[in-house]
Structures are given as C-alpha cells and as structure tokens.
Symmetry: C2
Subunit: 237 residues, 2 copies
C-alpha cells in the first residue's frame, strides 16, 4: 500500500486542489510515491474538527491507513471576533490551544510515527473581508482582524513547539511579501476549475450516478451548520 | 471510510495535479465526498500497466480500498510507431485491445461495483513532437502520428462498448476545437508548480525526511526502464 499524506483543515485546505492550489502541487510533487488525501472542511474551527477527527481518520485496523504526514491547518475561523457576525465560528484563544493539543494527541495515538505539521492561519486583509463577506454584514466592521489572526498564529506556534511538531508560520511568511494582499487573494480565492478532461469526466461520472450532490458528505457541510446552534449538526459524531 | 476514485494512466495522468491539471480539478470537485487518488505512471503502455496493477490495487481484504470509479487512460504510448525512436513503448493494436480487456477484467474482479471509465489517447500534434522530443531523434520523423493515435482511440472505444464501460473519446473531443494544438499543449505540458504554501510544506517535509527522492517508488520510473529490455524493470512484479 502506498503511504498517505492527509491534509486536515478548513476552507483553505478544502479549496487547495482548485486551479493552482497548493495541495494539487503537493500531489504532483509526490505523484509517484505518496497518495495525498484531502480532508478539508470549509468553515470549520478546531472545536468542530475535534468532533469529526475520529470518524475521518479510522484506526489502522478498521480500514484506516497510516499516514506519513498530516497537515493541521486551522485557526482562521477560530480567530473570528466574538462580537462580529461570524462569532459562531469563534473559539477562545485558550480553547484553541487546548484543541490543537488534543488534535496532536489524537494523531500521535493513531499513528505514532506520523509527522504532524501545523500551519498557522494566514494574515487577514480586513478591507477584502468587507468587500467579500460570506454572510450579510451591515455593521461595516470586518468579522476577523489581522491582529487576532496573529494571536492565533502565535498560539499555534507555541503549541507546536511544546509538542515537538514542525510548524509553518504562514501568518508571518505571507506578510514578508510587500504585495501580500494580492498574494493572499490568489491563494484563497476559489477559482472554478475548467478544462476539457475535467468537464468530460465529471459529466460521465454524473451519468453513472456519481456526483457530489448524491454522495453522502463525510462530515456536515458549512451550510448545514446552524449559526445559532453549531454543535447540533455534529450530533451522532 | 471515504470512497475513492483512482486515476490509472500514463504521464497525462501523472502530471494531472500540476498547476491547472484535470485531476486537481476533479479532487476539488469531489473535495468533501471522495478521495481522488493518483496512480499515474509516466511513459507506461498497457503492457506495463498490467504488470503493476495487482500491486498498485491490493484486494480489499489486504488493505486495499474499494473504488467508486477508476479512470483507465492509456494508449498514447502504445500508439508509438514500431519503426521510430520510441518503438520500445509500442504495443500492437490487437495486444492493446487485449490488454485493455485484461485491465477491465482485473478491475471488475477486484471491485465488482466500480465504474471503469476508459479514456482514449489524445490526438497528436506531430510538429510539436518534433519540436519537443523526449529522446534524441535524428530521423526527422515524429515517434507517433495522429493517425495511429486515432486507431488506438477507436480500439479503446470498441473495447469499452464490448465491456459496457463508459468511454471518453478524447481524440475526437479535442479535435473539435479549431485551436486544439494549443489546447493540447496546455493540457499536457508539465508546468512546474509553485506557490508559497507548497514550497514551504515541501521544505518542511523534506526536513522531516519525507521527499520523493528518499521514498521508494511504487513501480519503476520511466527513467528506470531500459529501452532495450523494458520488461526487465518489472521483474518481481
């Protein structure tokens, strides 16, 4: 069996196979040696991630496959401000650290030899958040700030150091580029993928009954999560 | 366990996660429902594919995972002309059909419920083959022709029909575009993937000892296959 690299995270992970995405590049890089497997969950914070981890990554004896590595890339949603429109995604800083610790413990127990690579949330372009809100936002205030994202990035780094895990400080790395706001948009924007083969394969698979809309989702979709009662969608997990 | 879609093929499959590639788009399309798993082997023909299929796709009881679908995308190398520089990749048309039949039988036995989607080889831009040879070519003649690729595409279609499998006639589909030679180049050209996250993740994984050059390859690389004795690299499979 070819070894795997799992990519566990939020929307930045979920869209990472979109045109020019980083996971696609990673798959290409390891194309002959590793299966790169996407486990991205748009809108998730670490609290919700902990709810689904057990099911997403079954024990090796129960059909699960051990991993060479897993990227743990959360925090962007945890860092939503607690008094803005996305407050239902907010996770307090101390709980964020606890949750990251719990995720690391889970993976270390599941796969003792696996590299657990933490990735900090990226910086926030607050103007862009206002230009492209994902919910109605009459307040005129962004739902997340760069300062808050930086605090969660620092927390992520400190947890990684405590646990002896490698960490990618994306918050700092991106801001080293003078034009980072444009770079960030290019990294996270969900561009609709096109191409002859893609469209044709999708069409034929759909004819065979295989399309995303008639396959069960592994974990609740962001659209299935009630902002008023987010944990409800996870009952039974 | 999340179901899988396997992509089994030659270099057009192997590079399909490169920037803008079709497998990346497919992964993105199914990002919440299916693991799209790359099994691309640059330079392979159907004869070699048959040699490695058993190991690449282990039985479900032995750690292998059943698939929702598998794309079988060979023929471009089989169609290399038998009297040109890439003759060692050539597989006669009647054997190509037999081999496709054998691959379909293998998958049907392995996973009785799985959709087996055949994809024909693409058309050949003969001028481009001369401009970009992958081996020394003093003959001034292309190692493959569009006519030959068309014959293999027709054979692929007839096998698919005999076996009741869906088929994507890529040879015809691409040529419906007036500017297909440019489209083809855009589809198959291996563009080096870039991007901040990709480069950083690769760097850190490499620091952890995880990089393609120190991981075993699942099946022989094209560079490991001796044009004089291609089957030698497959001894032990």
């Amino acid at each position: 069996m070819r070894p795997k690299i799992y990519l566990f995270g939020d929307s930045i992970t979920e869209v990472s196979f979109a045109d020019g995405g980083w996971a696609a590049s990673l798959s290409n890089h390891f194309s002959r040696t590793v299966d790169v497997v996407l486990k991205g969950h748009s809108g998730y914070n670490t609290r919700w991630a902990l709810k689904v981890a057990e099911r997403i990554f079954p024990p090796v004896g129960s059909g699960g496959a051990p991993a060479l590595a897993v990227t743990v890339f959360f925090g962007a949603n945890d860092a939503c401000l607690s008094d803005r429109y996305a407050a239902f995604q907010h996770v307090p800083l101390h709980e964020f650290k606890q949750n990251l610790n719990s995720l690391i413990s889970f993976f270390k127990k599941r796969w003792p030899e696996t590299v657990i690579l933490l990735i900090t949330p990226p910086p926030i372009d607050e103007d862009a958040r206002l230009r492209h809100p994902y919910m109605e936002n009459p307040s005129g205030l962004p739902e997340r700030t760069n300062e808050a994202a930086g605090a969660y990035a620092q927390a992520c780094i400190s947890v990684a150091k405590e646990c002896g895990c490698p960490v990618l400080d994306l918050w700092t790395k991106i801001q080293e580029f003078p034009d980072w706001k444009e770079v960030l948009m290019a990294c996270t924007l969900l561009r609709l993928a096109t191409g002859i083969v893609f469209e044709e394969v999708v069409k034929i698979l759909k004819e065979q009954g295989l399309s995303p809309e008639n396959l069960p989702t592994e974990a609740p979709l962001f659209s299935d999560i009630d902002p008023e009662d987010p944990l409800k969608a996870f009952e039974g997990y």
